[in-house]
């Protein structure tokens, strides 16, 4: 399943094939739901445009 690939001798990351634990699981996800954060960011974007609209309309 896993494939070797060329890494330099200085690499800080050994090949994942030799790791017992999935390296992704070393990082915990933030507590907030990612989907709520997307909606929040889009709303922020609309708020930002709205601010410019308000400024330019006077």
């Amino acid at each position: 399943m896993n494939t070797p690939f060329p890494t330099s001798p200085e690499s800080k990351h050994p090949d994942m094939a030799h790791n017992e634990v999935d390296p992704m699981e070393r990082v915990d996800l933030p507590r907030m739901s990612p989907w709520v954060v997307i909606v929040f960011l889009v709303m922020l974007g609309f708020g930002y445009i709205g601010l410019w609209r308000w400024f330019l309309r006077g």
Binding site: M1, P6, S8, M24, V27, V37, L41, Y48, I49, R57
Partner: protein, 478 residues
């Protein structure tokens, strides 16, 4: 615009500075990993400025100014959504990807699912990145042929030549340091032009009196569905934009990568209102006869003296070359690690790998020139491959990072990439087009709004079925 006398010395000084950084970077490159991800040793602000500069290119300045002239404030979403998505992936995706230690996205798929997944994702990722490279050199060519009175061939050779030369020498080191410098040049040129444009239009109060109110609508001429599509395109494409993600791999730690993306994303999100505003001001000053694609350049030479106009040309050069260098470098890393190292010579020495990588840099630059010559629709060029990637690799990658169950569903991931990408390509070929503007196509229903939900659906249902089957098999075996 025709009367402008650009300062070649300023342009030459800029190009020399970029080349000297490439020469400096050459000393730091001793392996493929140095070329591709700068030895994984970069700090927060270098990543932040590099992320911001990568997202700002000639197409952004020319293309989104054109969209601003035609569609007003709506045009923000054609670029701003990518910046907001950058903040998001910086928070949720990049740190986990950093921990895997991969260099390319196809490599990640290969490690989790095997070689077939690596090949399919490689094809889809390159499709997008070559489109971006071609679109970026195209935008630069449009400006420089008009302003500097050089031919298309001269433009392609000069700008691609210098960019590929400093990437050839210094790899990601040169890319990131030049990016940081280019970011400040972009900032000075674009904000300076905005201020000069406002002054030319009679100040803010003058603009308020003369702006077409339709340009200020939140859902103006582009309409709700197209604005929604721009938002979705931004979110989807950013999710697997390898040239951007590799900035995260260049960080010295997962936390540094997260902060770099967060700061870079916020800076670029705020900046991205600049090109739509430049387009809107240009439209207001020069009226309805102005060709949208000329909005940026016309304003630059209409309001600025020769020296300032030259700074703006350098700004366009900086914006384009920061993106070009990034995409050229990232595709070269794919050609080297995902093709050469796999199929040609897996046991090549470090020195040979490095030379192959450098030759690939030159090959990618040549390919981009050929593609632009064949298909010169600027922003659409970026989005054709981008939509296909955004509806195939991006949701699969995000699923892979966020949900461990997806990592156990290779068949589903393959099906999602193939079906999602296929439907996207089909819809882009046969979907109904409402309008072909100077830089983009306005669709009746943007293809991404068809392809992405189908891919997400396949991932959700397929993963559920496939992982449940595996559990059943395990239970039976026990």
């Amino acid at each position: 615009m025709e009367e402008a006398q650009p300062s070649w010395w300023l342009i030459a000084a800029y190009l020399l500075l970029m080349m000297s950084i490439g020469i400096w970077g050459r000393k730091r490159v001793v392996s493929v990993e140095d070329m591709a991800v700068a030895g994984r040793n970069s700090g927060v602000w270098l990543i932040a400025f590099s992320v911001a500069a990568t997202w700002i290119n000639g197409t952004t300045l020319i293309g989104i100014s054109a969209l601003g002239a035609d569609f007003g404030l709506d045009a923000y979403w054609s670029g701003g959504s990518f910046m907001l998505a950058t903040i998001w992936i910086g928070y949720f995706i990049i740190p986990r990807l950093w921990e895997t230690g991969v260099i390319t996205i196809p490599e990640l798929f290969g490690r989790y699912f095997g070689q077939r997944h690596r090949t399919v994702s490689l094809f889809l990722v390159i499709l997008r990145d070559l489109g971006v490279t071609a679109g970026t050199i195209g935008a630069l060519t449009v400006v420089t042929t008009a302003v500097l009175k050089i031919s298309v061939l001269e433009s392609l050779v000069l700008w691609l030549g210098v960019t590929s030369a400093y990437v050839f020498l210094g790899g990601m080191w040169a890319v990131m340091v030049t990016d940081a410098i280019q970011f400040f040049i972009i900032l000075a040129g674009s904000i300076g032009l905005l201020i000069a444009g406002v002054a030319q239009a009679g100040g803010v109060s003058g603009l308020r009196n003369t702006f077409d109110p339709a340009l200020l609508d939140i859902f103006g001429r582009a309409g709700v569905t197209q604005v929604l599509a721009w938002i979705v395109i931004g979110l989807a494409i950013t999710g697997s934009y390898q040239g951007l993600i590799q900035r995260g791999f260049a960080a010295s730690s997962a936390l540094v990568a997260r902060r770099g993306f967060l700061y870079g994303g916020v800076i670029a999100s705020l900046w991205y209102i600049t090109p739509p505003l430049i387009g809107m001001i240009s439209r207001t000053i020069y009226g309805p006869d102005l060709v949208a694609e000329d909005a940026f350049v016309t304003l630059a030479f209409g309001v600025a003296g020769n020296q300032f106009a030259s700074l703006i040309i350098v700004c366009v050069l900086a914006a384009s070359m920061s993106t070009l260098s990034s995409t050229i470098n990232t595709i070269a890393s794919n050609f080297t690690l995902d093709l050469y190292a796999r199929f040609v010579e897996p046991t090549a020495s470090t020195v040979k790998q490095l030379w192959v990588y450098r030759i690939n840099v030159l090959i990618v630059a040549g390919l981009a020139a050929l593609i632009y010559s064949a298909l010169p629709l600027l922003i659409e060029l970026m989005w054709i491959g981008g939509r296909i990637m955004g509806a195939s690799v991006a949701p699969a990658l995000i699923g892979l990072v966020l949900f461990p169950s997806v990592r156990k569903a290779p068949t589903t991931v393959m099906a999602a990439m193939l079906i999602g990408g296929g439907i996207q390509a089909f819809w882009q070929t046969f979907g109904a087009i409402r309008e072909v503007s100077s830089v983009v196509i306005i669709w009746d229903l943007d293809p991404i709004l068809i392809g992405l939900p189908i891919t997400i659906g396949i991932l959700l249902i397929g993963t559920h079925i496939e992982t449940r089957q595996s559990e059943d098999e395990l239970a039976t075996a026990a």
